[in-house]
Amino acid sequence: MKEWVHQLNKAFENRVRLGIMSVLMVNEAVSFNRLKELLGVTDGNLASHLRALEKLEYVEMKKTFLDRKSHTTYDVSTLGRKAFTEHLNALESLLKP
């Protein structure tokens, strides 16, 4: 059982996904453009990783309309927060001798 807890999550092995989760863990309602700016990736690349995280229900997308312009923001879900924390713990425990 202990072994299982300390397992790395495959979903976070990619650097872009790691970056997305890191930003969302400490910020609320982050826009697509803000994520793009912070991570320095292309639209397509970011979109595909966001979609993957959404599919796993780690990330939630929210669409609001501001002056008839759609504004998409992202938040980490409770499940995502739990999964990422476990991933972090696993990373740390692997570094301990």
Binding site: L8, E13, R15, L18, G19, M21, S22, V23, M25, V26, N27, V30, R34, E37, L38, L39, L88, L91, E92, L94, L95
Partner: protein, 200 residues
């Protein structure tokens, strides 16, 4: 994944969390210059008051002091903008991003409140409380903004508040406390930030 990759991953995570929340382009040089302007302004204010102008032309002196403080503030903000923009460019970051906005808004609320409060104090004739009040409100503004920039700004805020409170109970040394809080402390923290984060 091996050990090295895990360390890289943790480093990435930490950097992303910090960069997305904290405005880290703020240059220490802006603090040093703000401090120098404040010391110069405090010296000019001291000379004016020593000349006895406060008794012969109270209104003129008050306007002179307020113009001095305002000029000092505008120069300090202008210089901060210049150095911070340079620093952001060097780091390849955008100057006006989400974290900069948050830091600015959180700084501005207590600061603007303090400014208006100081005007109310002047109107009420409580000139002696202007220096303590501006120090206390400035300290609160720094603490409020520190979550979105360098954590040491919080320390600076606490020192400003302490100084302001001491000044409030020790009357007659407003300019001295003002010079320490806005001059000396800015220079000390500016130097520290500059050598710790920009020269390295």
């Amino acid at each position: 994944m091996d050990q090295k990759e895990h360390i890289e991953a943790l480093k990435d995570i930490r950097q992303m969390m910090q960069r997305s929340v904290r405005f880290l382009s703020l240059s220490g040089l802006s603090g040093i210059f703000a401090g120098i302007y404040a010391l110069a302004a405090a010296y000019l204010a001291y000379l004016k008051l020593e000349s006895g102008a406060g008794r012969t032309d109270a209104r003129g002196t008050l306007i002179y002091l307020m113009a001095l403080a305002l000029g000092c503030l505008i120069l300090a903000i202008g210089t901060a903008f210049f150095f911070t923009r340079k620093n952001a460019r060097k780091k390849g970051l955008k100057l006006w991003d989400e974290s900069a906005k948050l830091a600015f808004i959180n700084l501005s609320i207590p600061l603007a409140t303090g400014g208006l409060f100081a005007i109310a104090l002047i109107r009420a004739g409580a000139i002696g409380f202007v220096a303590p009040a501006t120090l206390v409100f400035y300290g609160l503004a720094l603490i409020n903004a520190s979550r979105h920039t360098f954590p040491m700004i919080r320390q600076l805020g606490i020192l400003e508040i302490l100084l302001g409170l001491i000044a409030a109970f020790v009357s007659g040394h407003g300019i001295l406390f003002w010079a320490i809080g806005f001059g000396l402390l800015h220079i000390v923290y500016g130097l520290f930030m500059y050598f710790k984060f920009e020269r390295a």
